[in-house]
Every structure is written in structure tokens, then in C-alpha cells.
């Protein structure tokens, strides 16, 4: 059949024309130059290696005892196989695999499209992915985009020894952290490996959907997904939701303190599932929420702790080698310890050096804050300050900002106070300075 070869070329061409042809990943955007290959490219084109690697994912990595799962329960592995068959011009095998995939996910539109193409190719030469004459171009483009990001996500798994730069220090009781990469349409689950000094350990990654107009939310209704450090604030079960949200929803605390300081608006950013009429939504389809397939949401939900689990959304995740990660983590821990010690020392001017001139706490400016501290500290004979449950997350973005959260146990000759505190630190002229402080 003359059409078959055409299909092959066209399909590959259309995929190669997309993101797959581009070099991998955020190596360039990572500020640390030695974060050379943050994601391992499992295989460039052939996917046998991918499948083998995926299947051979060790259940224990030697660093911890928890079994390791990856997202290969999703359709990525099957999609990779299907495209491999198409590539090899084994269209019958490709069709069989596609039909098997559809038995598993009857509402999977991408698989239906591939099936349509493979069937149509048996009757006529076809021009490419979504070959139906007069097919709505936007819908075909959405499905193509999904295929591309899924295959790319599948082929480029996070490397064992690289860590998302944002996860500098997790609280001991934060069992997991969620990291979202909007550029790659991927959501990563990391485990807080407390037995290993709180080192984040990759658990699984999933295809995700972001806002129709991408990321970096600024105002209400801009159909963008926010970028920043958030956490899950509630668990809304399916029964309380309309079908749009699928199997459940987890609101996050957008806009956070920094967002407000920057004048960002909008609300109601959730992590949620998929409506019943489709298995998955296109990579860019929500009004700003982070959307997973229902099965993926259910899997992720098991790891979510309301009020605790960080959800860090980046437009392009930066990865650090273990060494670099340790360096950054130590530097910040030291900085925070200096702040604590300087407060305890009652040397107010030294203490105030940790604060930026742009500092704000509520409506209080730096000068007002400084004046108040000088006055209070003058009356102290002694101060004891303990920091517990410290977490340090780097804020995604161009500027060096970290989000520091801890339980503060303050004692002095005339006052005792315990609170959960949140600070935003920013590097100014090479020095970390506090730009926001408040209760959390």
C-alpha cells in the first residue's frame, strides 16, 4: 500500500518538527553550569531502551528502603512502543498496540486519533498526524502536543543524582514534595528521604495540563498557571465537585505572600483531575489549574498532606547535582543560623543587617520595623531562640529568592512566644536578605 510509508514519514516528521527535535531540557537555563545533564536521555529515537530501563527501574536504589515507582503506569510506555512500530513501518503492530491502549483507556483521544490514522492509512495515502481531511486543526495540534510532551517526558527521566534546585530543605514531617515543570508538562513527585539527611528522592512523574495561555500568572482571568512555591491547603473530594474536576481537587495557596507583594492577582488555583468524557486534557487547556488524569491524581493524592505538602511550580525546572545542592543548602542553613544567633545576641544592628531595605511585613516598612526592634531589644536581658521544623525552598524564577518556613520558639526575660513563621529571602549584592517576614 503506497499510503503506509507516507504515514510513517509524516507522523515522524510532525513529531520531529515539534519539541522532540530540540535538545533536551533546562541545562541552559540552570544557573549552575555543572548541572550538565540533569535528565538522562534514555534513548534518542529507539524506545526499546526506554522500555527496558523503565521496566528495570530498581525497586530499591540503595539509598532508601521505600519501593520506587515511576509513571510508567500511564500510557507513555505504550505510546512510545506504538510510535516505535510506526517508525519501523509495522503499522499492523502499531494498530494492535493502539487498540490495546484503548481497551485500557477507552476515552483516550490521542489513542483514538492514532488509531484513526492507522486505519485510514489502510485505505488511502495519508498526509500526517491527524490525517482526517478537514480535521479541526486546533484539536489535532493539542493532541500532537500531548504526544510530543508525553514521549519526551518518558524518554527523559530525572537523573538519580540530580535534584530540583527548589527542594533545598524539607520539614521532617513533609513526606513528599511536588515539583511541576510547565514547559515540559510534567509533574514530579519527590520523597523526603529523612533517613538520608532529608535528601529529596524521585518517586514518579506524570503528564500534566497547565493554563491555556501558559504559566506565570499575573492577574485574575489570564488563564495562566502561577509560578512559585505553594502548598496544598485543602482536599476536596469528588462528591463536592462538578465533573470538570474529575476525581478530586487540592487547592493551593496562590497568591502567596510574595505574589501579593508583587501585586499578583487571581485565586482558585487547584491541583485537580479530569472530566469523565476524556482520559487526558491537552497540555495547555485549564484556566490556570494544574490538571492530572484521574488515575494520576489518585496516585499523587496519596502523597499529599493538607497544609504541608509543597507544590512548587516552575516554568522550567532547574536541576542541581548533589554537590551543588549540598552547597546551596548549607549556605542557606548557615545564613538562617546567623540570623537566629544575631537575634539571640541582642546586637540589634547586626540582626537588622539581615533585612533588606525593601523589607515589608504587612504594612510595616523596614524603618518602622527597625525602630520597633531597637526599642524591644533594648528592654531584653536575654533572648533564647529555637528554630524547629525548618523548610527552605527556592522560588523558581530569575531572581534568587528562597522561601523559609519554621516553628519559632522565642523566649526572653519578659516574653515567650511560639509561632510558625515564613520568610522570603532574596540575594542582594551577593548577600541573602529578608524581604518579607510574617506568621504562616
Amino acid at each position: 500500500m503506497p499510503g503506509r510509508k507516507l504515514l510513517l514519514l509524516a507522523l515522524l516528521g510532525s513529531l520531529a518538527g515539534g519539541a522532540l527535535a530540540k535538545p533536551a531540557v533546562s541545562a541552559k537555563s540552570a544557573k549552575k553550569p555543572d548541572a550538565a545533564t540533569p535528565l538522562r536521555k534514555v534513548a534518542a529515537v529507539g524506545t526499546t531502551a526506554v522500555a527496558e530501563t523503565a521496566l528495570a527501574q530498581p525497586s530499591a536504589t540503595g539509598h532508601g528502603q521505600l519501593p520506587r515507582t515511576v509513571s510508567d503506569a500511564g500510557p507513555e510506555a505504550q505510546l512510545a512502543k506504538i510510535f516505535k512500530e510506526i517508525e519501523a513501518n509495522r503499522l499492523n503492530d502499531a494498530l494492535q498496540l493502539t487498540e490495546a491502549l484503548l481497551r485500557q483507556y477507552p476515552n483516550y483521544r490521542l489513542a483514538h486519533l492514532i488509531r484513526g490514522d492507522l486505519l485510514l492509512a489502510r485505505t488511502q495515502p495519508i498526509q500526517g498526524f491527524g490525517a482526517l481531511n478537514g480535521a479541526p486543526a486546533d484539536k489535532v495540534a493539542d493532541l500532537r502536543a500531548e504526544a510530543v510532551v508525553r514521549l519526551k517526558g518518558y524518554r527523559e527521566k530525572p537523573q538519580e543524582n540530580f535534584i530540583p534546585r527548589y527542594l533545598l530543605q524539607m520539614q521532617p514531617d513533609q513526606r513528599h514534595a511536588i515539583v511541576v515543570d510547565t514547559k515540559r508538562s510534567r509533574l514530579y513527585v519527590y520523597e523526603n528521604d529523612v533517613k538520608n539527611g532529608g535528601r529529596p528522592r524521585f518517586v514518579a512523574d506524570y503528564y500534566m495540563t497547565q493554563g491555556k495561555l501558559g504559566s506565570d500568572k499575573l492577574v485574575e482571568g489570564d488563564k495562566k498557571t502561577p509560578i512559585g512555591v505553594y502548598h496544598v491547603t485543602a482536599n476536596l473530594p469528588r462528591q463536592q465537585l462538578t465533573d470538570l474536576y474529575g476525581s478530586g481537587a487540592f487547592p493551593i495557596n496562590y497568591p502567596n505572600e510574595l505574589d501579593r507583594q508583587q501585586g499578583r492577582g487571581g485565586s482558585g488555583i487547584w491541583l485537580h483531575g479530569t472530566p469523565s468524557d476524556t482520559f487526558a486534557r491537552p497540555p495547555k487547556a485549564s484556566d490556570g489549574c494544574v490538571v492530572l488524569t484521574n488515575q494520576d491524581l489518585d496516585a499523587v493524592a496519596k502523597n499529599l498532606q493538607v497544609g504541608l505538602t509543597p507544590v512548587i511550580i516552575s516554568s522550567s525546572v532547574e536541576w542541581l547535582s548533589l554537590d551543588d545542592w549540598n552547597k546551596e543548602r548549607n549556605e542557606l542553613n548557615k545564613t538562617i543560623e546567623n540570623w537566629r544567633a544575631d537575634w539571640e545576641s541582642r546586637d540589634t544592628e547586626r540582626y537588622l543587617k539581615h533585612y533588606s531595605k525593601r523589607f515589608k511585613s504587612g504594612s510595616q516598612s523596614f524603618d518602622q520595623f527597625a525602630a520597633q526592634k531597637r526599642q524591644v531589644n533594648a528592654g531584653k536581658e536575654w533572648i533564647k531562640l529555637k528554630i524547629n521544623n525548618l523548610s527552605v525552598f527556592r522560588n523558581p524564577g530569575k531572581e534568587d529568592v528562597v522561601v523559609v518556613t519554621f516553628y519559632q520558639d522565642y523566649r526572653s526575660n519578659n516574653l515567650e512566644n511560639q509561632m510558625k513563621k515564613r520568610q522570603y529571602w532574596q540575594r542582594e549584592d551577593g548577600k541573602w536578605k529578608i524581604i518579607y517576614e510574617g506568621s504562616a
Binding site: 483521544r109 490521542l110 483514538h112 486519533l113 488509531r115 484513526g116 490514522d117 492507522l118 486505519l119 485510514l120 489502510r122 485505505t123 488511502q124 491527524g130 482526517l132 481531511n133 478537514g134 480535521a135 479541526p136 484539536k139 489535532v140 493532541l143
Partner: protein, 366 residues
């Protein structure tokens, strides 16, 4: 020349599922004495289905296992728009005679009619498994794949069954019943034979044979062969229809206009159901679809055009004509309308100049 693989020709003027109509063209147990099966066939041809049913039941009553009779009964049910009964008959036939491709094929046609394309596909794949060279099943399977593709696209793109392929399908299905009457197995060039077999009768009649219960149909004289393999030399096909009333007389020096006129005249003859003019537009060595004989092809066209109830209209858009010596290619959009059918296709006619006229050598729809 005959062993050179030629591209498979598929006339798509009437994209329709080809039901195997009259007779399993194979030998199996039929009593040698004159029986009333030909009478049943005659009644079917005349559209007297209740009478045909009565006759076939009478025929079957002493020999309930008889495949030929049951096959005809299935056809009668199909014609009588009793698909459930027809499906029952053909299903039983596939169970009792799993080696026969025809019941599978007709099952597929019935399933397709009910839009059960997956079942249709399975049935056709069975027909092909039993008879890898069964051309009609291949063609039908192609249509089923197109329908399945259409459904898949609907689901992928939420088109509510309104996509382009699906519209074609509907027309297809409405045409199904009529095709039950005149369909013909392709004339059978035997794959390796240097000389093509021209013996294919227009309507593969029942060939009663005393012996050979459900013999391998592949050995029969009219066994179809994969149309992609060989094609009979065109000149060896059935006697060419004399070209008496060629609608367009070509002047040798004004080719392009003459070809366009020939196309217009051809379409007009078709619309008028003027079979003489219509068939006369074709060259004597016209490459008939599926390598069927000229006679069989003419009969089929006659049935589809003159034998069609209601008005036919064939309109064409301005053809694009390219001429090379005595060969011309006309490509155009063809808009076909008949009761229950409306289709637009891109058509390519290849003309040859013979005796000052442009005649159609090949016809293709895409």
C-alpha cells in the same frame, strides 16, 4: 506484461460495499437434478422476495444444510431488509462452512449497515484468512477501515460523526441493498498464468456439481485473485463494445478543449442514463476495475446507471487537462447525485486518442 504488477484499480464511482450476490461461485453439494434454485435467483432478480423466500424454503426443507440455498436465503433476507434474520443465516453458514469467504463478506456488509464496524472488520478479516485472494473482501475491508477511522476521529476530535469520511459512509450504506443484485466477482486472472482467463461470466452462476462438498473455492474457474498481482492484458478482455456514438470528436490540434468536451459529454451521458453514449466514451482497452471482464463491467454499469431508480445527476468542475501525444489526463471534481446519495470526489480520467476521438482508458477516483 501480464506478470507485471500493475497498480490496483479501484473504481470509486460507487463506493459501496460489495455484497456477494448471486451464488457462491464454487462447487459444493447441490443435487444434480434440476432444482428450483435458478428460479429463486430469477425471483430475486425480479425483486419478488417473498416468493423467492417461499421457494428457497421449499428447496431447503429436504436439505436444511445446503449452503447454496441458505446463502440465497440470507440474500433474500438482506433484500427484504430483515438484517437480523440475514445475519442469523450468514452466521450459521460461517459456523457450518468456515472455509467459505462469502458468508463472512455478507455478514460484514450487514454489520456495516448497522454501523457495527468492528464486527464487520472481524468478519472480513475471517473471509480473507480463509481466502487470502478474495478481492471483494479486501475492497470491503478498505471501506470498513475508512469507517472505523472515521469513528476513531470522531472520538479523538469530538466531531459528533460529522466528519468527511463519515458522510461518505452514510451514502455507502444506503447503496448497499442495490448492490446486492448485480454484483459480480472480479474476472479471475490466474496469478501466474501468462494468458489471462477471460472466462468469467458476468454473473457467476450457480455451478451445480454433484461431487465436491464445499470444495476449495480457490480452484474454481472464477476464483478471484488479488487484484494487485496481475491484470489481464486489456485487449484480452471481453469483446470491446463498439464505439458507435463517441460524444466528442477530437480535433488533433486542439487537444485540451477536446478532452474537456469529452469529459463533459461523458458526464452528460451518465446523467441522461444514455448507456450507449456512456459506454461509448470508453476505449475498447479500458482498464476495467478489479480486472473484471469488459462484459461484466458493462453489465454492472448498466445496472448502476440505467437500472437505477430515480434521477442521476453528474456535474463536474472545470477539468485540468494535460496532454502527452495521444494520451491525455483530465482531473476534476465530480459531483454525483442520485436518490439517497450525494458525493463529491476527485476523479482522474485517462484518455487515449483513437480515430480522432478521445476515449477513456482508465478511470480513478480518490
Amino acid at each position: 506484461m501480464t506478470s507485471t504488477p500493475l497498480p490496483r484499480h479501484r473504481s470509486k464511482q460507487f463506493p459501496t460495499l460489495r455484497a456477494m450476490a448471486l451464488g457462491l461461485a464454487i462447487g459444493f453439494s447441490v443435487p444434480s437434478f434440476a432444482d428450483n434454485l435458478p428460479e429463486v435467483q430469477r425471483l430475486i432478480k425480479q425483486g419478488q422476495y417473498p416468493q423467492a423466500l417461499e421457494k428457497v424454503d421449499a428447496y431447503l426443507s429436504p436439505r436444511p444444510k445446503d449452503a447454496q440455498g441458505r446463502f440465497l436465503k440470507g440474500l433474500i433476507f438482506t433484500e427484504m431488509n430483515r438484517p437480523a434474520d440475514a445475519i442469523g443465516v450468514f452466521t450459521k453458514l460461517t459456523e457450518d462452512y468456515p472455509e467459505l469467504p462469502e458468508p463472512y463478506n455478507n455478514l460484514a456488509v450487514l454489520y456495516a449497515q448497522q454501523k457495527q464496524y468492528d464486527k464487520a472488520r472481524t468478519a472480513l478479516e475471517m473471509a480473507i484468512r480463509t481466502h487470502p485472494s478474495y478481492a471483494i473482501a479486501y475492497e470491503n475491508l478498505g471501506d470498513i477501515y475508512a469507517k472505523l477511522a472515521s469513528q476513531a476521529y470522531d472520538k479523538a476530535l469530538q466531531l459528533d460523526g460529522s466528519n468527511a469520511i463519515a458522510q461518505n459512509k452514510l451514502a455507502l450504506i444506503r447503496d448497499l441493498i442495490t448492490t446486492g443484485k448485480g454484483n459480480v466477482k472480479p474476472a479471475a486472472p490466474v496469478a501466474a498464468a501468462p494468458a489471462p482467463v477471460v472466462a468469467a461470466p458476468a454473473k457467476p452462476a450457480v455451478t451445480p456439481k454433484t461431487a465436491g462438498v464445499a470444495a476449495t473455492p480457490g480452484t474454481s474457474a472464477v476464483a478471484p485473485t488479488k487484484p494487485t498481482e496481475t491484470k489481464p492484458a486489456a485487449s484480452a478482455a471481453a469483446p470491446a463494445a463498439p464505439v458507435t456514438s463517441a460524444p466528442a470528436v477530437a480535433k488533433p490540434d486542439n487537444g485540451s478543449d477536446e478532452v474537456a468536451k469529452a469529459v463533459a459529454a461523458w458526464a452528460s451521458a451518465w446523467s441522461r442514463k444514455d448507456m450507449k453514449a456512456y459506454l461509448g466514451a470508453y476505449a475498447s482497452d479500458f482498464e476495467t476495475p478489479k480486472g473484471m471482464s469488459r462484459k461484466a463491467w458493462e453489465d454492472e454499469r448498466e445496472l448502476r446507471i440505467a437500472g437505477k431508480a430515480g434521477k442521476i445527476s453528474v456535474n463536474i468542475d472545470e477539468p485540468q487537462v494535460t496532454i502527452k501525444g495521444d494520451r491525455a489526463t483530465a482531473k476534476f471534481r465530480q459531483h454525483y447525485k442520485a436518490p439517497g446519495i450525494s458525493s463529491s470526489t476527485t476523479k482522474t480520467l485517462i484518455f487515449v486518442r483513437a480515430g480522432g476521438k478521445w476515449l477513456i482508458k482508465d478511470e480513478n477516483a480518490r
